[in-house]
């Protein structure tokens, strides 16, 4: 099989299927992941093909899901757990931060916990409260965790393969509003390393940095800007921890301007870290301060207001204009 066009959700499904086939130690766990195939159908058909012993419907208890996954990993399994929605992860936050992230160090390297925590995240789908959040910075802040987010189907397939093979715990943020976006998935392509950023559009005037759901938006912004004669480079970070600062630096040294875009609140968001480090690395290259576009320091709003809360084409273009005006 070479390349096949499929939706992002289907690509993750195929990736999980591949992992379940290749390694008998891989398990899929979560709420409704079995017969239902998950609320987004990401695990559709897996229980039917791999059985209840490997695709496990769990009690509705997130701390229990992650805590038992840790125990299974200690026994030699490689659990891939699903947290049903971003806003539901916090009952498991203690197990993730206190136990999952630190066990390798506490054991002086004797214990490895290859656990993947899948979290559909982000807004833009008109959902009710607690179904549209972007908590990636809360995990990137914790040493011991790796945090990634694919932006398209091909990356979703391969990054899931790499996350499952990682001996470190990986928080895998899935851009739920892009679940149905289709792209070519190549089963044979040699993938980029899991934590390497990728230039998805080359440009010379300004660098847009994004990951997950905002990559597509930034590509649209770059197209709109091109019509106005502005050449924007778009960098898909793919990984929030570690962050590929070398790639951002290389781009900014070329374009001299940087705008970071994410759905998560700007305050203490990943954009703040990027701005600080790139300012330090590229101080003499920058023609403008690093700008950020993201959510506000307010609870995620009701769905009827989310378009005003989320970065969109105009807000990013506005930031681009402000940067170019320096």
């Amino acid at each position: 099989m070479t390349a096949e066009k499929m939706a992002l959700a289907k690509a993750i499904n195929e990736s999980l299927r591949t992992a379940l086939e290749n390694d008998p130690k891989v398990l899929v766990m979560g709420e409704d992941v079995g017969k239902l195939g998950g609320v987004f159908r990401v695990t559709d058909g897996l229980q039917k093909d791999f059985g209840e012993g490997r695709v496990i419907d769990t009690p509705l208890a997130e701390s229990g899901i992650v805590g038992t996954a840790i125990g299974l990993a200690l026994r030699g399994y490689r659990p891939v757990v699903e947290i049903q929605f971003d806003g539901f992860v916090f009952p498991a936050y203690d197990q993730i931060v206190t136990q999952l992230a630190k066990m390798h160090a506490r054991s002086l390297g004797k214990v490895k916990l290859p656990v993947v925590v899948r979290i559909p995240y982000g807004g833009g789908i008109g959902a009710v409260e607690h179904h549209s959040e972007s908590p990636e910075a809360l995990f990137a802040h914790v040493a011991g965790l790796k945090v990634v987010s694919p932006s398209d189907a091909n990356d979703a397939y391969w990054m899931m393969q790499q996350a499952i093979q990682s001996d470190d715990p990986v928080i895998f943020f899935e851009p739920k509003r892009r679940y149905w976006d289709k792209a070519e998935v190549s089963r044979e392509a040699i993938p980029d390393p899991l934590h390497k950023a990728r230039v998805v559009r080359e440009g010379t005037d300004l660098t847009l940095v994004a990951y997950g759901p905002m990559v597509k938006l930034c590509q649209e912004v770059a197209s709109a800007a091109a019509e106005e004669g502005k050449s924007l480079e778009v960098l898909d970070l793919r990984s929030v921890s570690p962050l590929d600062f070398d790639a951002i630096q290389a781009s900014v040294e070329k374009t001299r301007r940087l705008v970071v875009v994410h759905e998560a609140p700007v305050f203490f968001g990943s954009g703040a870290e990027i701005a600080a480090r790139i300012t330090e690395r590229c101080f003499y290259h920058l023609e403008a301060p690093v700008l950020r576009v993201g959510g506000y320091h307010a609870p995620y709003p009701p769905a009827r207001l989310e378009e005003d809360y989320l970065p969109d084409l105009d807000r990013v273009l506005d930031a681009v204009d402000r940067s170019l005006a320096y």
Binding site: V66, G67, I70, G71, L74, A105, S107, D167
Partner: protein
């Protein structure tokens, strides 16, 4: 067959329907206590306590649990005694080392030796143990060198042993978390088709944690081969058990659909028998069990604690009369052919252990400062590498100055 003769040892505050009141707190007579006679499920609100050895060292018959210690030899009895004495000696040495500034903190197990040695000796080599931070006696039974336990209390590491060498997991400080790890591990054991069992230790305080409740749920739903061994030592730092529960803790198991048993936690034979029974249930695929070992924390919560602020000496004195080591010694002296030489030799061994622990701890070096960055990740992390290099350069800048001064 009853244990009326042990009125003074009846649970302090476990009367069904009276839990949460303070009227029965100091009562030694108002609580109903009977032996368990049938399978594990709690019946009604009557509190039951499994006891095989009274505080006076008298053997009490128990049809259900006697078989689990029926074949015990005199040597094995002396072995249990030795385990408890050496564990207590180690514990006392660690407390002293904290007082001398060699350890930053110590969590003493004083008084809980029977619960830990009895349950620890019930485990098989291939079983897996998930401790809290006070299971020094269980660690001893698993063959973990006691000096390895001291690294984290001295501050040279956060857990200095390989969990898989002795199937004894790292100490878990955030209470209750390990109950879920044990459950997950047990789910894995079942998937592997192995007949090993898993045992999770926690205390009366941890019983309030959501993770413990979730562990009960998961283990029951998946029929995981795990034993929940709750040492109810009556105090969660300053909070008595009444602040954690309105029913005897072992009765909680019933609501989850598995048996719960309260055992005299100061009776090493009863703890051995009940834990063996529970582990064998797990091996046979009969699922989880909750064992509540009713015991007492004779010392402070840790060396940083001051129990005089919240409990009286009279309570401690009452429990001193139920000392786990004294009662086994009485039993051994009356029922086996054990001469004074055994006790004298053990005393010497005990002192030798104390000396060794002292010497090892005092010689324990501080870790290399670059250990900060070691093992943060298994597969590495670019930022860790970058910060390690910055730290190295910073440290090296001092070295330059020092070298310069020397020249």
């Amino acid at each position: 067959m009853t244990v009326e003769s042990t009125a003074a040892r009846k649970p302090r505050r476990s009367a069904g329907g009276k839990a949460g009141t303070t009227g029965s707190k100091r009562s030694t007579t108002g609580t109903k206590s009977t032996t368990r006679t049938a399978t594990g499920k709690a019946r009604g609100t009557e509190t039951e306590l499994v006891q095989l050895l009274t505080p006076e060292g008298e053997r009490v018959k128990n049809a259900e649990f006697d078989p689990y210690v029926a074949g015990i030899t005199d040597d094995e009895l002396r072995g249990l005694y030795r385990d408890m004495v050496l564990t207590r000696r180690f514990d006392a040495e660690a407390t002293a080392l904290q007082r001398q500034g060699e350890l930053g903190l110590w969590a003493s197990l004083l008084g809980q030796e029977a619960a830990q040695i009895g349950s620890g000796r019930a485990t098989r080599e291939d079983d897996y143990v998930f401790p809290t931070y006070r299971e020094h006696g269980v660690a001893w039974c698993r063959g973990v060198d006691p000096t390895n336990l001291l690294g984290m209390f001295r501050g040279v590491n956060n857990g200095g042993w390989d969990p898989n060498s002795n199937n004894f997991h790292l100490y878990t400080i955030v209470i209750g978390s390990q109950a879920l790890h044990a459950t997950g591990y047990a789910m894995g054991v079942a998937k592997d088709g192995a007949d090993s069992a898993v045992i999770a230790y926690f205390g009366d305080g941890a019983s309030s944690q959501g993770d413990v409740a979730e562990a009960f749920t998961f283990s029951a739903v998946y029929n995981a081969p795990v034993v929940f061994f709750c040492q109810n030592n009556q105090w969660a730092i300053s909070e008595p058990t009444e602040k954690q529960t309105r029913v005897p803790l072992y009765q909680r198991a019933q609501g989850y659909g598995f048996p719960g048993v309260r055992v005299d936690g100061n009776d090493v034979l009863a703890c051995l028998a009940v834990t063996k029974w529970a582990l064998e249930r797990a091996r046979r695929g009969e699922g989880p069990t909750l064992v509540e070992a009713f015991t007492y924390r004779m010392g402070a919560h840790t060396t940083s604690d001051d129990p005089s602020r919240y409990r009286g000496d009279d309570e401690r004195a009452a429990w001193e009369a139920k000392d786990p080591i004294a009662r086994l010694r009485t039993y051994i002296e009356s029922q086996t052919d054990t001469n004074e030489g055994f006790f004298a030799e053990l005393e010497e061994e005990s002192e030798a252990l104390g000396r060794r622990v002292r010497e090892v701890v005092r010689a324990m070096p501080d870790p290399d400062r670059f250990a900060i960055f070691e093992n943060a990740y298994a597969d590495g992390h670019a930022l860790v590498d970058e910060e390690r290099a910055q730290f190295a350069a910073y440290q090296a800048s001092f070295a330059d100055v020092e070298e310069g001064n020397q020249r």
